[in-house]
Amino acid sequence: MISEAPKPSDLGPHGATSPSAERIAYLEGLVGQAKVAAAAFTQFTQEDVDRIIKPMVLAGIEQAQYLARLAVEETRVGVMEDKVIKNMVACEFVYNYIKDKRTVGVIRDIPEQNLTELAEPIGVLISLTPITNPTSTVLFKCIVAIKTRNAVIFSPHQRAWRCCAEAVRIMYETALKHGAPEGVFACIESPTFDDSNYLMHHRDIGLIDATGGPGVVKAAYSSGKPALGVGAGNTPVYLEKTADLDTAIVDIILSKTFDNGTICASEQTVAVDHEIYHAALEKFSDMGAHICNEAEAALLASTVIDPQTGCMRPMAVGQKAVDIANFIGLPVKPDTKLLIAPIQGVGPNHPLSVEKLFPVLAVYRAKSTADALQLCVEVNHAGGLGHTAVIFSRNEAIIQRFSEVINTGRIIVNTPGAIGALGAVYNDLVPTFSFGCGTAGGNSTTDNVNIYHYLNIKRVARRKQNHMWFRVPNQIYFNRNAVENLSKFPSRSTVIVTNAALQRLGNVEVVRRELAEATHIHVALIPDFEPELSAVLQGVETLKEHQADQIIALGGGSVIDAAKLMKLVYESPDADLEYLASPFLDLRKRVVEFPTEKIRHVRLIAIPTTSGTGSEVTPFAVLTDKSKKRKVSLADYSLTPDVAIVDAQFVMSMPKNLTADTGVDALTHALEAAVSSYSSPYTDSCAYEALLLAFKYLPIAYEHPDDEEARCMVHNAACIAAMAFANASVGVNHALAHALGAVFGIAHGRANALFLPYVIAFNAAVPAKLMPSPYMQGYPAPAKYARIADLLGLGGATEEEKAERLIWQVEELLERLELPRSIAALGVSREEFERALPGLVQAAFDDPSWRSNPRLPLMTEVTDLFRKAYQGRSISDAGRIAEPECDLNEVAYEGSD
């Protein structure tokens, strides 16, 4: 029997007025006791909480029928028998899900991420509950609240408050008996929207949990309080031709008639493939549905849908199909379960395409899969966004497609929608009585609301020790005549990449002698400066022409860098060098990926003919872009040569200035790697040994170029330093030098030398700005410089003093190598320098090198470093701090710490 019921209150914020003083006092009393209860609750343990939950659940189950009857009597909505099931699901199924879950203290430990999660209760919640599922929603929320140590004030729908108050009473008394804090639950008597509105703005309310229609949800979110607002839906269903039709029809009827269709996840409009349309309707009819003809459907629509609002009429909500039919005069069988109305589309011209929380189902004959999907999307967008959708199909591809195009938090497959969405009965969705509808539905979540939405989850993030690495070529051969090892590498066709000067010196012949007679050898000459793209691509053509299986890069850094890039493009022709040179912050997290698929494989053997760049063991290559007047750096371990041969015979004829320039480059590599934010004990050991070798042998090699031992040791030092910076990278010294070198054409090592003393002082001081790096413990630069000073036997009592002595030692070495000590000394005028300075600072700051510097350089500091280098200073300017405690030449290399 349908009677015209009062309209559900529209809990929109605009209609609110302030409650009376007496009412406010009443509400304040509820909040006050809930607040004290919540405070007391924070002291409870997991065991305390779990001890309370179980009897509450049992009480809810025991009273399920009683509460269901109360709900139906008060609301005149739904089916008592179904409400019993809902009440039991709210207790039993929810308990089954939460019983073993931790909600107090540590709730999850994730050791692989060094993360621990802890629960913090919210405090006091206000919970708005709907008319359609009043007692089940209350039971559910009480259980979840106790599990999470929260206090709740319930504000039920005005037409359901008595049954809700009774459900709250049962839960509260049971909880109290088993130790819950007094005042943990309260239910507003005779609630009004003004009451809810007052509480929704109350400062002591931590969260609004609003389950209901759009008005309720909107009011909750408009309050400015954190809110869970879950509300209306419009569930589209696709009955696809491959579905198990018998099961599908039963499931749809079961779901749509469950509690007279009051669950908002129930089916609303079914798109049926035309191939099975008639069979489906026949089965619906067989199972007790009445299929409306066109006139009946129109009459039904005009009765149950309000033409003004286009929404369902409240009077029909939760009523039986047969009562609705009788009300409008439809001749149906007395046992009719469901009224089915065919529709031709969605929207205002098809009134029955909206949400209908009663047993009226719209059906649509779909001409094709695409047509069915389109219809479902239309229904989804007509009030159902974010909520629930259903598909019956055996075709996984169509299920997948449906899931992609439909925007709902739940996509229920081959299952009754209403009960399927509740979770835990037909599937493993989290059991709930609140369906999150996502942002499309104006909600903050798409989840099935449960315990984790009633908790603040605190994450304890422990410092993570990232994996580090030490990657160098598989094989490194060193010392005089190491080139003989070339014979170990069989090759059918070898291209020797070198430059004309080295060929003239006879070095190519030395290499050629070590290769097998059968090997086809081609010599590719490239210019002796940092390679241009055109030179690289030309080299690749040469490799292709000779079908090379081996490249021997014989030369300085430029030649080896060119060979690295040739190998890259030769093996992976699609490699875009400019793209691969994109800047990055952390090598392991960078966006650009180097190619891993190779169409050819070629071995790269690097034989350095200078003692500086260390390119033979590094993953870096510099490419000059002449058109843009810039250099780009590529970095990837796939660029590292396969074999390095560090044979000092190739450096014996290095001119003095080149010995000094490249030697200082190596020294800078070691000094910067030692204090780099990526440094590790592995790189440190290389950096320290390289420094010992360089400080001892570089002046000798410079002053006595024929000293084979010195040449050999400096050559080794350069390679060892490169192993350090290949894995720890460099620092701000290199950034400055790159910028200066590019603008004024100053050799790289020479440019490094200009900044070295100032950069050590800069890093050794207390930084203005620290560099964030998970790899660094504390600020290690001063201690590391001190360690180096100690290894060199420089003396000094404090870290500061040791750093000063190290700077002195560096300056003394630079003077001994007769390197210019200022930019001015290189002939750059003050005006020219000042004009270039802003660009230099910008370029240095854009250079990736400084990102591994231990100290983050500010632009002003970069400017200052440039100015210091311009001005320069001699040892006499600097003033000798103290004599080293011993002569460096007497420091035993093997005996160092």
């Binding site: 607040k35 004290v36 924070t42």
Partner: protein
């Protein structure tokens, strides 16, 4: 002349009474020390008594010092905005 500080030990089994009794001992301008060393947890009634005690202390311009308050209880008092109304003395942090 400043009154001597009186010490009251609070027993968890009769917590509310203990706090209430402490309120009765408040002397205008005086100081009282409540020892909570034996209190593990306080329920809503006890917390309400603490609220009343704080109000009483304010009326009588008394200073109330709480000793041995464990951190869980301290947090509960904090949630009720009560910590600023008492002084705390813990010989060592009570975890």
């Amino acid at each position: 002349m400043k009154a001597a500080t009186e010490t009251v030990s609070i027993d968890e089994r009769r917590l509310e009474e203990g706090v209430r009794e402490a309120g009765l001992r408040l002397i205008r301008g005086g100081e009282i020390l409540l020892d909570f060393s034996c209190v593990r947890r306080m329920g809503p009634r006890g917390l309400r008594e603490m609220e009343t005690l704080a109000e009483l202390a304010q009326e009588k311009a008394c200073r109330i010092v709480l000793r041995g308050v464990n951190i869980d209880l301290y947090k509960a008092l904090k949630l009720l905005d009560l910590t600023r109304r008492f002084s705390f003395r813990n010989e060592e942090p009570v975890l």
